[in-house]
């Protein structure tokens, strides 16, 4: 796992969000094993303690479980993954709405834009 970290925001949170996105899109399948804390720490170039914190928080969401001595695994409960995916999508959508409303777009404008972009995508 590699990405640019924003040092103005909690780093564990960014690692956690990145893992959630990867699990949501199936990069780590249900029941699959996540990379180890050390592997992630080396990839993202942070302190392993920070990654451990991300894993702990992730475990609280029920998306993953840690088996002592074996590693951390994605849940086999696909409903939990689906719910998390939906919830994350809603957050992304809410962020999008804030930005688009700053441009003075109404809900109707957003729908019109979506239809237009859909047409363009077909071409």
């Amino acid at each position: 796992m590699q990405f640019e970290i924003d040092e103005r925001q909690p780093i564990y949170r960014q690692i956690m969000d990145a893992l959630i996105r990867q699990i949501a899109r199936g990069h780590w399948p249900p029941g699959g094993k996540l990379p180890s804390i050390r592997e992630v720490a080396e990839g993202v170039r942070v302190n392993p303690n920070t990654v451990a914190r991300a894993f702990q928080e992730l475990e609280r969401t029920g998306l993953v479980e840690t088996r002592r001595g074996e590693g951390t695994f994605v849940t086999i409960d696909t409903k939990v993954i689906k719910d998390c995916r939906e919830e994350t999508a809603r957050e992304v959508w809410a962020e999008f709405l804030v930005k688009i409303r700053e441009l003075g777009f109404t809900n109707e404008d957003v729908q019109r834009l979506a239809a237009e972009l859909k047409e363009e995508g077909k071409r």
Binding site: E7, P10, N47, N49
Partner: protein, 233 residues
Amino acid sequence: MTIPAVILDNVVKRFPLTKALDGVNLAIDPGKVVGLLGHNGSGKTTMLKIIAGLRRPTSGRVEVFGMTPGVETKKRVAFLSEVNTYYDWMTVDGLLNFVKSFHPDLCLEKAAELKEFMKLKGAAKIGALSKGQQARLKLVVGLSRQADLMLLDEPLAGIDPPSRAKILHALVGELRQEGQTVIISTHEVKEAEPIFDHVVFLREGRNVLEGDAETLRAETGHSMEELFGEVLE
């Protein structure tokens, strides 16, 4: 409840003409990587020496693993001074054996691994090493000890900027023993930013700001580097 690795309770250190520490309060949990951040002359070295048991505070209470610094704590604490104190005529391996004679916890296998990482040859004479190589050698010696608490005073001084981040990451990652507490003093925060769990900003002998790095990021929306500028300028 776990015993904190370090407690400083209203610690004051006076020298004849100056007050190096002016009432420092601090508690560090074991296993944390701590950044001791401040400009030159802010009291960083004095604070590390007091924790190492090399100096006594004028007043206040100091505890290291629940004990007053002394013979017992020195077995568990490694202090890497910023100043080079090695003999020029010794070789790298000669020095390691020499240090092992009074610090039996020095692990020669670990030292071999570290020498390779730092690209140092065992047969090289210390006097013939460059400044950067001497800084690396100091890290080899310090990190080879199986100390529960590692105190590093400006470990990056003398090391070329491109290598700094790499060495720092190894230091808190693969080179750190499980559960080891590390306190790193530095006035260069940029490279070290993502490795600290806890930061202490020291100014004129007082810790003006201190806390969990992630909590500080969440609360202020600033990086540690930005806070350094804001709090200490």
